[in-house]
Amino acid sequence: MSTSNRAKHWEKTRGLMFVMLGLWVFFGFVIHMFVNVLNNIVILGFPLGFYMAAQGSLIAFVIMLFVFARKQNAIDEEYGVAED
């Protein structure tokens, strides 16, 4: 693997990291800042703001991690730095 390949690989890896970190900030913090507004919406008895903290964000985290594992793997393979 060449040095420029490695540089590109790292650039993409870093890009994915920042996207994930952004989503993490959104689901971990930003959305809960609007809890009182969201609570006006009630679905199946759940005030939405409460639901996001109790389940919604958690589901997002789980999905994010499975997607992350796949995407990062694809990046590794694209630049030929994956494990054999």
């Binding site: 994915l16 989503l23 985290f61 991690l65 992350f68 990062q72 590794d76």
Partner: protein
């Protein structure tokens, strides 16, 4: 892995083995239910649940014994992602998660969800920032990585200090929890129960190290998740007719909201940023500290050293979170159903005269420990005690606010609260025990490995032969375990309160060094050490200062606090009273002064639970500044980091294993 070793037939048949085990556990529960229906006494059922599960863990522990270093420290790096995920789930979910989480949510409502969010979202940081790179490096312990990246034993030692301080109090709390559960369900004396718990922990970890702990943790995860889900499903079925608690507790929430209105409860279950002293600032800071702490706890990070590859390590973090999620998204449902049940009980008209009929379980628990259930401010040991306490306060109808339940008993008491048979209680006890034992194992291994691998092997005797290293590891494991059990047997209230500090200490002490070590090449040894010392130091200062030196802290930092004029006046008043008092009165005056000072000693009103709110920025800041002011890392180190960043190629640090 090329060299086939004994145990490979086991790893090849994991699905079959654990499938049979799960079926066996369910069959065992059914058998217990039948025995119970045939009139076998509850105590025997309790003993069989605890005894059978511990026996299984012991068998797995003994079968996984090993004399190979790689097996002992990292389970031979052969644990598939999904099983490592399950083991991490058990490693992660402590006695407190299992026993205390739903109770906290019951008491705090929405604000308690900070714990749910913090203890799950942290895994995002684990996966994207830390774990895969540590796996590529190939360390046996977290301090190992710090030493390699920051060139030397000073960084290693700083890492060990942080590791020890955040893991030891934590393990004491786990052993304490095993003692509480064994004492309550087996009727043992508490001190005896602590040492019984200790035996249960050692049998899983001593002979087989990481390998044995991994496979028992998988077994423990299965027990704890079944034990957690069944009561919640039961309540959901009884109260709503649908056996999916996570979906149906919306109905419970509506029930709670309308009953709260009917009973004039102002701060309700879904009220935001009010109860428990969590204003919005503290709510978000707590989430942050718990998340970052999660991504820094050594006993969690070292689980990802055991996967076969970097790719599997990443997938494994996702599986871990999925398995943890199953419990954490049930906990709020558990809490809501329990609260709904209690509100309905109160709504039906609860008086000291009828409480013995309507809720005899309260008296049973209060008799076990007076602090668990208090009604009208007194321990609810009997109907008479309740009647006299309530009439002293002029209360005829017992209101929801008059009943104070301890957070830790809610999960354990729910089966009785909702009128389930005793078998369910026995199963919940086995689940709580599994949660506490599995976490204790992981923590003990993290501490003992740091002492044996990092201090003994790397710092004291680098030429030690394998057999001696393994013996030293085991001796240290037993010594640490006995020390922790001894501390637990003294019922140290302070230590138990300190457990939640572990997250802030780990976050402030380790996170900046781990993350910058991978993501910023310019970080160097002096910077890392200075950052660890500064971040950890400021965090520790804030924790200890606001807790044990609150009077002095307030006097020094009062200008940064958020105390109101009245609170400050009250402080001055108490201070004057203390200065004036003499003899025995002086001590009492100090206690009053200190207690008040603890409520106001702070920087900007931040609770001490979130001390990493200061430790993190200071740690990052100092690390970056000192690194920039000192020499850049060598070319070799830059290449080392480049190598760390790609999954391909060999593990970077191959240990001498023979």
């Amino acid at each position: 892995m090329a060299n086939v070793q004994g145990g490979d037939s086991f790893t090849a048949n994991l699905n079959k083995v654990y499938g049979m085990y799960t079926g066996g556990f369910i069959a065992f529960i059914i058998l217990m239910a039948i025995l119970s229906a045939m009139g076998v006494p509850n105590v025997i059922i309790g003993y069989m649940f605890v005894g059978f599960t511990i026996l299984i863990y012991a068998v797995i522990g003994i079968m996984s014994r090993t004399m190979q270093v790689g097996e002992y420290y990292v389970a031979g790096r052969r644990v598939p992602a999904i099983y490592n995920g399950m083991a991490t789930g058990a490693d992660w979910m402590s006695g407190a998660s299992f026993v205390g989480m739903a109770g906290t949510l019951y008491l705090l409502g929405y604000n308690g969800l900070a714990f749910v969010l913090g203890w799950t979202g942290g895994y995002v940081l684990v996966a994207i920032l830390v774990a895969p790179f540590l796996r590529k490096f190939g360390a046996y312990t977290v301090p190992d990585f710090l030493s390699a990246r920051y060139g030397g034993n000073i960084a290693r030692f700083a890492g060990i200090v942080v590791l020890f301080s955040c893991s030891f109090t934590y393990v004491v709390a786990q052993i304490f929890a095993t003692g509480i559960i064994s004492a309550r369900f087996l009727g043992l004396d508490f001190t005896v129960a602590v040492y019984v718990g200790l035996a249960g922990i050692l049998v899983c970890s001593m002979l087989g190290g990481m390998r044995a702990v991994t496979w028992t943790q998988v077994a423990q995860y299965i027990v704890l998740i079944i034990a957690y889900l069944i009561p919640a499903i039961w309540m959901s079925t009884v109260m709503t007719g649908v056996p999916i608690p996570q979906l149906m507790y919306g109905q419970a929430l509506q029930g709670i909201i309308s009953l709260e209105q009917a009973q004039g409860i102002v701060v309700g279950h879904t009220s935001t940023f009010v109860s428990g002293g969590y204003d919005a600032l503290n709510y978000f800071l707590l989430i942050l500290c718990l998340m970052v702490g999660t991504a820094s706890l050594p006993h969690i990070l070292m689980r990802y050293f055991t996967t076969p590859s970097v790719r599997e390590a990443r997938a494994s973090v996702a599986w871990s979170l999925l398995f943890i999620f199953i419990l954490y998204f049930t906990a709020p449902a558990y809490a809501a159903f329990a609260k709904w049940t209690m509100l309905e009980l109160v709504q039906s008209g609860l008086t000291p005269d009828n409480i013995a009929d309507k809720a005899a379980w309260m008296m049973n628990w209060a008799q076990a420990d007076g602090a668990l259930v208090r009604i009208c401010g007194a321990a609810a040991v009997s109907a008479e005690a309740i009647a006299s306490a309530c009439s002293a306060q002029g209360i005829e109808n017992i209101g929801f606010a008059n009943i104070a339940l301890n957070a830790d008993m809610i999960v354990l008491a729910t089966p009785e609260m909702a009128g389930m048979p005793y078998v369910i209680s026995g199963m919940v006890a086995a689940g709580g025990l599994a949660a506490a034992l599995s976490t204790a194992d992981g923590l003990l291994l993290a501490i003992a490995n740091a002492l044996s691998h990092d201090i003994y092997y790397k710092m004291i005797d680098p030429n030690a032969p394998t057999s001696r290293r393994l013996i030293v590891s085991r001796v240290l494991l037993v010594v640490v375990a006995i020390a922790a059990a001894y501390v637990a047997s003294t019922r140290p209230a302070d230590i138990l309160a300190m457990v939640s500090w572990a997250f802030s200490l780990a976050a402030a002490g380790l996170f900046p060094a781990l993350v910058l070590g991978v993501w910023w090449k310019r970080t160097n040894g002096p910077g890392a050490v200075a950052g660890i010392v500064a971040g950890f130091g400021i965090c520790l200062y804030y924790l200890l200062g606001t807790r044990y030196g609150a009077v002095g802290f307030h006097e020094t930092w009062g200008w940064l606090g958020t105390a109101t004029v009245e609170q400050v006046a009250r402080f001055d008043e108490l201070k004057a009273a203390w200065t004036a008092a003499t003899g025995e009165a002086k001590e009492a005056a100090w206690v009053a002064l200190d207690a008040h000072a603890q409520t106001i000693a702070s920087w900007w009103g931040v609770k001490n639970l979130s001390a990493a709110a200061f430790g993190l920025p200071v740690g990052f800041g100092v690390m970056i500044l000192v690194s920039l002011l000192t020499k850049a890392p060598s070319k070799e180190m830059q290449d080392f980091i480049d190598e760390l960043r790609v999954p391909g190629g060999k593990t970077m640090m191959e240990e001498k294993t023979t």
